[in-house]
């Protein structure tokens, strides 16, 4: 697999600059304050985790970054470019890909077609090329198919290439979502609870997969409930509770933070 061109070179300078900056982001749904003035940076090439109890606003923040529900106020800066309020397909084209908490595959498309669709925004075929199947279009289709097969192999589900996405086993569906997201050539990959519903064995495999992704120069930003996965994999963690950032730092620091313990276990009286 070739490394994504959008991913930066590992020079000293670029490592220090954040790939994603969430700057005083607030999201209101009517009277409900889902995300409250949250600020943090995701550094290039790291595995960064966002945790918090149910309803803390984690997925809302993901939706804000990817343009599905733009934030009410605040700025989101990706690779020195402000993307606040950009449409989802523009965000994807800039190099942010994501998976969904409740798997959202194209159920009646084959696994292969799901991954080919992921390459949509990197393809150059115009209406004219598609109508008349020009040689250029045919070549591009072949390349896209080859790369889709590579990606299916990379996440380990190549035997399901011709199966409808909805007919895949649960774990393979989660893997297919990752393959589809990687197909967009991201520099930053957002994973929304990638280990949900996994067996311990599958969780270990997933952590291996995430490391392989990072090795290709893609920054991984994940939401995860499973503390073993989060603590074992991430370099830095941000904790949200009731939409507010209550802690940020290394796994050790976060693990021992009084407010985090309270948020998860309740206050001791």
């Amino acid at each position: 697999m070739s490394a994504a061109p959008a991913a930066g070179s590992p020079s000293a300078e670029s490592v220090d600059r954040p790939i994603l900056r969430v700057d005083h982001v607030t999201k209101r749904f009517g009277g409900l304050l889902a995300v409250d003035d949250v600020t943090f940076d995701v550094k290039r090439g790291e595995i960064f985790a966002l945790i918090g109890p149910n309803g803390a606003g984690k997925t809302t923040l993901f939706n804000g970054i990817t343009g599905i529900f733009p934030p009410t106020s605040g700025r989101i800066v990706f690779q020195d470019q402000e993307i606040t309020g950009a449409r989802p397909h523009q965000v994807a084209a800039l190099g942010i890909a994501r998976t969904f908490q409740n798997i959202r595959l194209f159920e009646y498309m084959s696994a292969l077609d799901n991954v080919r669709l992921g390459q949509h925004c990197r393809m150059r075929a115009k209406l004219w090329d598609s109508l008349f199947k020009t040689p250029r279009e045919q070549r591009e289709e072949r390349e896209v198919t080859d790369r889709a097969n590579e990606l299916l192999k990379f996440v380990g589900i190549e035997r399901y290439a011709q199966t409808y996405a909805r007919n895949l086993p649960y774990g393979s569906q989660r893997r297919l979502e990752i393959a589809r997201a990687l197909a967009t050539h991201p520099a930053l990959l957002l994973l929304d609870e990638p280990a949900a519903g996994f067996t311990p064995q599958e969780k270990v495999e997933l952590m291996g997969l995430v490391h392989q992704i990072v090795d290709q120069g893609i920054t991984v930003f994940l939401i995860e409930h499973d503390m073993k996965v989060v603590m074992g994999i991430s370099r830095r963690i941000v904790v949200l509770d009731h939409g507010e950032k209550i802690a940020e730092g290394t796994p050790e620091k976060v693990r021992n933070d009084q407010r985090v313990i309270e948020a998860y276990l309740g206050k001791q009286h």
């Binding site: 009646y108 008349f132 197909a183």
Partner: protein, 402 residues
């Protein structure tokens, strides 16, 4: 021989569409000959009817792009059909003289065909741009409104369109000199002003146009754009997050569908040599939608079969139903039933009043027997077999790769 067997094993057995395409093509080519033999040389009428059916085939192929591929319910599709027909009427008749323009325009059929496609597609964009942000049911209502507005505008803008009377005596299309054939109805040789009057000529031109359209739409379906349509149909949010500009993709589906409708409208107007606002009502939109759904949404040979079947039922079977009934009762010795008696108007009239009841029964029957459509797409087939199919597919895949 072996190569034929290989071909069979690689292609048709896996893909029933290959068979469907072959059957349709053979039927289209042999139809005029068979009709000629069956009617003893008087096939003009039936071939003319077949040419008209081609207009509906075109319409269903176009609506299939919108409804079947992109999953946008369009209930006002006949509006674009009307726009295409009226475009031809304006640009290829003497009608211009009675409008405030005071000038007749006579553009060649083939150029108007392209203009009409372009105009219909533009109206598709015009309607789609503000409305395609709506989903499902809401879009259906907006298109329904558009479908009502367009014929009404043509009806009421009488200074330009002659209102309810419509526009008649449209130009007869002529073929370029170099495409003449035995169907021209004239001896071979240089014929200066060759006009398509013969029903057979209409039929042949229609078949050729249909083949081109099917190839182009099939290419689209199996391209980047076709995949994007499928993805938007399956899950719009996920498609957008994967980099698909959903509004642009839906707009393209809408305007390509509209272009087909405009194309069909021009052809229809030219063949009938008359356009009138009455011909483009809601019933036309619904009929085309029925053809698409009943034939097998999303599958090109399916919707073609559906359109031919429904066309046959509506325009051939139902009008002749009273005759069939009269013949039937006379032959079984109940000749009295053919005369009116008190409240009973006679069997022919009685049956002709029941026409649409019969039509409804046929539709209900087909949808009960084949809810997925006559020749469904693979996706559609699976959707309707939820639950029972999951295990088998996975086992198949394992068996193949093991």
């Amino acid at each position: 021989m072996t190569s034929l067997r290989q071909f069979w094993q690689s292609g048709p057995r896996r893909d029933p569409n290959t068979i469907a395409y072959t059957v349709l093509l053979v039927a289209a080519i042999s139809f005029p000959v068979l009709a000629q033999v069956a009617t003893g040389g008087n096939s003009s009428f039936i071939i003319s009817v077949a040419g008209d059916a081609g207009v509906y085939v075109l319409l269903t192929i176009g609506l299939n792009v919108v409804v079947g591929f992109a999953g946008l319910l369009d209930l006002g599709y006949a509006a674009f059909f009307a726009i295409g027909a009226y475009t031809y009427a304006f640009l290829a008749s003497d009608h211009g003289v009675v409008t405030p323009l005071h000038e007749a325009i006579h553009l060649p059929f083939w150029i108007v065909l392209l203009i009409a496609m372009f105009i219909a597609a533009s109206f598709g964009v015009l309607l789609g741009a503000p409305t395609l942000r709506l989903r499902g049911d809401y879009l259906a209502i907006v298109t329904l409104g558009f479908g009502e507005i367009v014929p009404r505008v043509f009806k009421n803008a009488a200074t330009w369109t002659s209102g309810v009377n419509g526009i008649s005596a449209l130009d007869i299309p002529s073929l370029p000199l170099w495409i003449q054939g035995p169907w021209a109805g004239a001896p071979f040789g240089i014929v200066r002003d060759f006009k398509i009057i013969e029903p057979l000529a209409y039929y042949v031109v229609m078949v050729i146009l249909l083949i081109i359209c099917v190839i182009l739409v099939r290419n689209l379906h199996r391209s980047r754009l076709g995949r994007a349509w499928m993805a938007v149909r399956e899950d719009e949010v996920a498609a957008a997050a994967m980099g698909v500009n959903t509004v642009a993709v839906k707009l393209l589906a809408f305007s390509i569908g509209a272009a087909f409708s405009g194309f069909a409208g021009t052809y229809y107007g030219a063949k009938l040599s008359l356009v009138s606002p009455e011909n483009f009502g809601f019933a036309v939109s619904i009929t085309i939608l029925v053809m698409v759904v009943l034939g097998g949404m999303g599958n090109i040979p399916g919707v073609i079969t559906g359109s031919l079947l429904i066309y046959g039922v509506i325009f051939i079977f139902l009008p002749q139903l009273p005759e069939y009934a009269t013949g039937f009762v006379t032959s079984v010795g109940l000749g009295d039933l053919t005369r009116s008696n008190g409240d009973f108007p006679g069997i022919a009239e009685f049956i002709s009043r029941l026409k649409f009841l019969v039509f409804g029964f046929i539709l209900v029957l087909v949808m009960l027997v084949r809810p997925q459509g006559l020749l469904p797409s693979r996706e559609r087939e699976q959707e309707l077999q939820k639950g029972t199919h999951e295990d088998t597919t996975i086992v198949d895949v394992n068996a193949e790769t093991a």
